[in-house]
Amino acid sequence: MQTPRRTAVVLAAAVMSGVLVLSACGGSGGSSTDTAASGGPVELTVGLFGTFGYDEVGLFKEYESQNPGVTIKYESTQGEDKYWPALQTRLASGSGVADVQGIEVARISDVVTNQPDQWTDLRDTPAADAISRYIGWKEPAATTPDGAVLGLGTDIGPMGICYRSDLLQQAGLPTDPAALSAEMPDWNAFLALGERFKASAPAGTSWHDSAGGLYNAIVSQQKEIYYGQSGDLVFDSNPAVRSAFDTAARAGQSGLTAKLEQFVDPGWDQGFSSGSFATIACPSWMIGYIKGKAGDGGSGKWNVTSLPGGAGGNWGGAYLGIPQASQHKDEAAKLIAWLTAPEQQARVFREVGNFPSTTQAIASVTDTTDPYFNNAPIGKIFSDSAQNAPVQILGPQDGVIKNAMVQALLSVETTGAAPDTAWNTAVGNVKNQVG
């Protein structure tokens, strides 16, 4: 009578072992520890998100052939919002991290503030010499108060204004980048142009894509946004933030925006081709986004000019860091120093569009024009914006606060909330979250 039960046990055991055997067949993720240290062959793992462009340009293969004995295992997660939590989970458990990990600029302050002990100080590695080749603010943002440098910059996101020259022409506005720029010395002038546009615009077309996008562009020019010089929260008392909020809310209230939430509303994507909006504040990396979303039919319709008044601002960009858990810190440091070197940055910009962050690379791309954008001098526009951008004070809760502000502006646009009420809601939400 025991036999049947034993059968069940055996069966259960068989299922369990089947699990292990089958999954072993499926191939298990390699770790970076399979090879011994210095001299011998090394396998470096690289974990990135989105498109850094290295694989696309063939830089990994090139590095492998230049450095015999080094093999690179590259993996990428598409969405940064999924990449980062997974990386954090792995960091917390101390296993499964790659030798090189990408860090989005919005996370760098968190890394510097909250996890300096998880990342390698690059000053002690072969990448030390690379730290000095960046434009002003890029490396300070990745440096702890003690001076440890936790990441090497890859790209940056200098801002401009992308616009539909065909729609502007229909509304009788200037379409040449320089002429348009001359008509908008500041954001108020930009909105005044919007009113002129609205008066004679084709139906179903708004001046700007969203109040949140407008707000984001305005604050991106500020040195101090949500945090003060000493690292204290000043977002609700900083007049620059409130004024940007009010300007954007005014634009939303007076119907200058298409009320399309960026990256969330499918209508926003459609707007690039359908013409729901005539202008959008665009960082350099959005050039590629517009081309993809507007397709071949959008070629020659879109154009780029500088932010009002020729100001500089930044949105986005990334770093490469080496987790403390890496077994090959020196090799990894050599790799990231090479990947972020000016020559490589310039190549990535030409092929993928990520704007370089080293001064030498920026200088080498200033003469770039883009036929898709009516041959707009995008190299000049974005490098000027990069040079003029302030050294921003970043803080660990920047993302939380920006999210609350953009959300509140959307409520002004779509639900008709009063700007003051929306502002108070946003401040309340932030205080609940951060305070």
Binding site: T89, Q407, T414, T415, N432
Partner: protein, 329 residues
């Protein structure tokens, strides 16, 4: 063959079976009795093994985390019940609780009623029944991500099909995503689309295990189709209906994939959090803001609330039908 029906539940066996010598309990009969007593535990053991390793430990650990300030990637710092104080004084939490309830009702009630009706229709003798059943389950075979991506386009403001159809009837385009109720309805439609066929199949399986004699008896008593449905099918399906209600309630209370992806991966749940469910609120704390301590707190409060809800459900069910075998114990 003799049958005794006065002790309907198997599994409790003190006495040996009829054969053998009753005077001296043999090792065989003792072994048999032992088997009878221990078998239930052996049967549930695999489930509990998996549960202890990969369910209970994370659960208890989550309770522990909820008493800490713990940023993902940082260190845990003991703060006692501060997270709970924070949660219960946070209007966003109450908002998310309320939205979970409204979206839960909007999605669950029509879904189960539709499923019941569809199962009833599918239970007729039909041509192409296999095709119909397969078609009903196709939504379930689709990932939430794919379904939501498609529906986000369908409910688009400027080029969406729904607004296109409404335009034919002369209704102005609706900004589904940004309205309060419209966004909740759109999300409920995704949930209903995804789960109705699934529930219909479960009801169908249940309907087909109801004894035919009951229907014939009812027919002899002069009950028409509708009365048969009400008085035979529905009572016969009681355990199945209980099952679907509880599973849907739990599903609705944990709803987060649909609103998350409907919001383009942003856990805000819209400009005024009009579709931020508790699941989304928790996800936002844990994965957008990296506040694992707070997320754990939300999870535990939610856990306790759902247990309360399910207990209430089954208590109500038992009070209504005290004698029914098979309701939740």
């Amino acid at each position: 063959m003799t049958m005794q029906v006065d002790r309907p539940v198997a599994g409790e066996r003190g006495t040996p079976p009829a054969a053998g010598t009753p005077s001296r309990p043999s090792w065989r009969s003792r072994l048999y009795a032992f088997e009878g007593r221990s078998a239930p535990y052996a049967f549930i053991a695999p489930f509990f093994l998996v549960f202890f390793a990969f369910g209970l430990f994370p659960l208890v650990y989550t309770a522990w985390i909820s008493l800490h300030s713990y940023r993902l990637g940082g260190r845990m710092r003991w703060i006692g019940f501060d997270n709970y104080v924070w949660l219960f004084s946070n209007p966003s939490f109450y908002n998310s609780l309320w939205k979970t309830i409204t979206i839960g009702i909007l999605s669950t009630v029509p879904q189960l009623l539709l499923a019941l009706g569809l199962a009833h229709l599918l239970n007729y003798r039909l041509r192409g029944r296999t095709f119909l059943r397969v078609a009903m389950l196709m939504p379930y075979a689709t990932s939430v991500a794919a379904a939501t991506l498609v529906f986000a386009l369908i409910f688009g403001r400027d080029g969406g099909i729904v607004n296109g159809l409404l335009g034919v009837v002369g209704i102005e385009p609706v900004d589904w995503r940004n309205g309060n109720w419209t966004a909740q309805i759109a999300i409920s439609v995704i949930v209903i689309w995804h789960w109705t066929g699934y529930n219909a199949l479960i009801y169908l399986a249940g309907m087909q295990s109801i004894s035919k004699d009951l229907y014939e008896a009812a027919a002899i008593d002069g009950a028409n189709r509708w009365e048969q449905f009400l008085h035979v099918t529905i009572p016969g399906l009681r355990p199945t209906i209980m099952f679907t209600i509880i599973v849907s309630t739990i599903g609705a209370s944990q709803l987060f994939g649909e609103p998350l992806l409907f919001g383009g991966g942003q856990p805000n749940g819209g400009s005024v959090n009009q579709y931020q469910t508790v699941g989304l609120f928790m996800y936002q704390q844990g994965w957008q803001y990296s506040q694992l301590g707070r997320a754990a707190t939300v999870a535990w409060v939610m856990f306790i609330l759902i247990i309360g809800l399910v207990l209430l459900n089954s208590w109500l069910a038992r009070r209504r039908r005290p004698a029914t075998e098979g309701t939740l114990s």
